[in-house]
């Protein structure tokens, strides 16, 4: 419509050019406002689906680990997900340490307590001074199943859903899972109390 106006008027009235341009401007401005307005109106409908304030409030837990013996593990719930707290045996750690980082499918530590680029050597799967503790989201990085403890070809975890094998440091070795299992942010409050989140 605007185009016809320009052509029609442009032929006989020179100042109609300006008129048409102003009209174009109004049209574009209206269109832009309508687009922004629509986007602003749609946003609440989309954002309502994100975690609400009550879900965000449950962001940290404290766990007493005094009863866990070497070679044992407990599982606690954090943000609706299981977290495995494992007191690793010397043999488990040795095995994990003997694996060169080059042999790993995912070379990154995936440890929220470290830099995102930290390599996935065994030390980086834990925090300094507490290397025997592996505190890890026990959630398969493929599609979210809970892997079985002390299972699979590497004696770590095995996810039965689609066959992912993790080693004793929770690092992916074979299978469709793309990443090592995640280490959540945590802190030792004292010898027996750890805060996750």
């Amino acid at each position: 419509m605007t185009r016809t106006t320009t052509a029609d008027l442009g032929a006989d009235a020179p100042d109609a050019e300006t008129e048409a341009t102003r009209r174009d401007f109004l049209l574009i401005a209206t269109g832009a406002f309508a687009a922004v307005g629509t986007a602003a109106a749609v946003w609440p409908f989309i954002h309502q689906m994100n975690p609400d304030a009550s879900a965000l409030a449950l962001s940290s837990i404290e766990v007493d680990i005094s009863s866990i013996e070497e070679g044992q593990a407990i599982t606690v719930m954090w943000q609706g997900k299981p977290v495995s707290i494992r007191y690793r045996s010397a043999a488990e750690m040795e095995e994990a340490r003997a694996t060169p980082v080059d042999d790993l499918a995912d070379p990154l530590a995936r440890n929220d307590n470290l830099d995102a680029t930290a390599p996935a050597n065994d030390e980086n799967r834990s925090v300094p001074g507490r290397e025997q503790w592996l505190i890890m989201l026990k959630v398969c990085t493929h599609l979210g199943c809970i892997p079985l403890d002390e299972a699979g070809e590497f004696g770590g975890w095995f996810c039965p859903c689609h066959g992912s094998h993790y080693d004793t440091a929770g690092r992916i070795r074979i299978g469709p899972a793309p990443e090592n299992m995640a280490i959540p942010p945590f802190e030792f409050l004292d010898e027996t109390l750890v805060r996750i989140g």
Partner: protein
């Protein structure tokens, strides 16, 4: 389709005329389902559209009454299902109709889709009709998936976890998309509640797309086993009584099968694990989706990469959208395509094989077999169909539908019409 073969709606009473002048609804129904011409040679594979419509109604009616008793809460959902099964009057019946109805719905839709593949129903001028069908199929899968989550058993919970996690494969925004879908950091109460809302909504969206699908159908008309377009009145019969009775008969047989499942094998198609309440700490040893999603699940698991597996799984359905342009042959019906006919049956076996593998654990020989069948699945669409159209020598087709049914000699109006009337998509070999 040309529509003057049979007399159209004529209001017979004054009230009918008064109404027709104001809202020609009766006219629309009469012209669409009574006087509407259908090819005289339709076989029973053409009755599944009607069966599907009935199944949609069955699901909506049983679903709405189940919703009167169901509680969409992580603490009560599982118990409310048992409440429906034990306490609600006829609750067991309504639930078994609804849960087995979903399976029957998919059985019918698969027959309907393979009918289309065999008789070339997706070819010009029916591309939009076909694409709307694929949209319905996608909506059905979404609806069934979310419905299966509602009983909040172990399979519900872990199926929901695995399927929503598929979206985490999206580069960069994957994790945020999954959190958004869940409304939390894992599948939980917000997830269940929204799935319930959407499970209620989607069937009505399906009903809307079905209306478009039938509209598109009534513009182009049905195909038929010869794949030749309707050319004259000899080729067609009026929808009522012919198609109506045939559809009703097929529907009756189908409902007998349905009733057999509901009354004798109500849990045969389900998983025992789903009678165990959802436990976020324990994944069942063997997660499998409902049978109707197994082939796609097999494709997902066949690929060793997460992103690529998800892409291929969605791709295996998306390819149906472009199928009308992948098949280069202008002969519609496989009855006249000796090679395609064989490849069609191989394809059917491959799909069933993928379904079988989807139910098996993802290890050893099963994975290898799933990989081979996945490659074949895509080769069928991207290699075999485009090439067949170029190299295949189709068999001669009858001059008209009437010819194919009655034999050329019986055709009253004789040769001239037949000679001139070769339908456009049929002209090239």
């Amino acid at each position: 389709m040309q529509h003057d073969y049979f007399p159209r709606y004529e209001p017979k009473t004054a009230v009918g005329r008064w109404f027709d002048d104001r809202l020609p609804l009766t006219r629309l129904m009469y012209d669409s389902f009574v006087a509407y011409p259908v090819p005289r040679n339709l076989n029973y594979f053409y009755t599944f559209g009607g069966i599907l419509s009935i199944m949609l109604v069955v699901q909506i009616v049983t679903g709405v009454v189940l919703a009167m008793h169901y509680v969409p809460h992580e603490d009560f959902a599982f118990d409310s299902i048992e409440h429906i099964m034990r306490n609600v009057n006829y609750g067991w019946l309504l639930r078994y109709i609804h849960s087995n109805g979903a399976s029957m719905f998919f059985l019918a839709v698969y027959i309907h889709i393979f009918r289309g593949l065999y008789f070339g129903s997706y070819k010009a001028p029916r591309e939009i009709l076909w694409i709307l069908g694929v949209v319905i199929f996608l909506l059905m899968m979404a609806t069934a998936f979310m419905g299966y989550v509602l009983p909040w058993g172990q399979m519900s919970f872990w199926g929901a976890t695995v399927i929503t996690n598929l979206f985490s494969a999206i580069p960069l925004v994957g994790e945020s998309v999954v959190t958004w879908l869940w409304g939390g950091f894992a599948v939980g109460q917000p997830t269940l509640n929204r799935f319930y809302s959407l499970h209620y909504l989607l069937p009505f969206m399906i009903a809307g797309v079905v209306a478009l699908h039938v509209w598109a159908l009534h513009v182009t008309g049905q195909t038929n086993p010869t794949g030749i377009e309707v050319k004259s009145k000899q080729d067609v019969v009026p929808f009522t009584p012919h198609a109506t009775i045939k559809d009703a008969f097929a529907m009756t047989l189908f409902l007998i099968l349905f009733a057999w499942f509901v009354f004798y094998l109500p849990n045969y198609l389900g998983h025992a694990d789903n009678y165990q309440k959802a436990d976020p700490l324990v994944t069942p040893a063997h997660i499998v989706p409902e049978w109707y999603l197994l082939p796609f699940y097999a494709i997902l698991r066949a690929v060793p990469s997460k992103l690529f597996g998800v892409v291929l799984m969605f791709g295996s359905i998306a390819v149906l959208f472009i199928l009308p342009w992948l098949d280069t042959s202008r002969v519609r019906s496989a009855n006249y395509r000796p090679l395609y006919r064989q490849f069609f049956w191989i394809f059917v076996v491959v799909c069933i094989g993928l379904g079988y593998l989807g139910a098996k654990p993802a290890e050893g020989g099963y994975v290898v077999a799933a990989r081979i069948l996945t490659i074949y699945y895509f080769a069928h669409f991207f290699l075999i169909l485009p090439l067949l159209g170029l190299f295949e020598n189709p068999r001669p087709r009858p001059a008209s539908i009437a010819d194919s049914v009655l034999g050329p000699a019986d055709q009253p109006s004789g040769a001239p019409a037949a000679a001139g009337g070769v339908a456009a998509p049929e002209t090239r070999g």
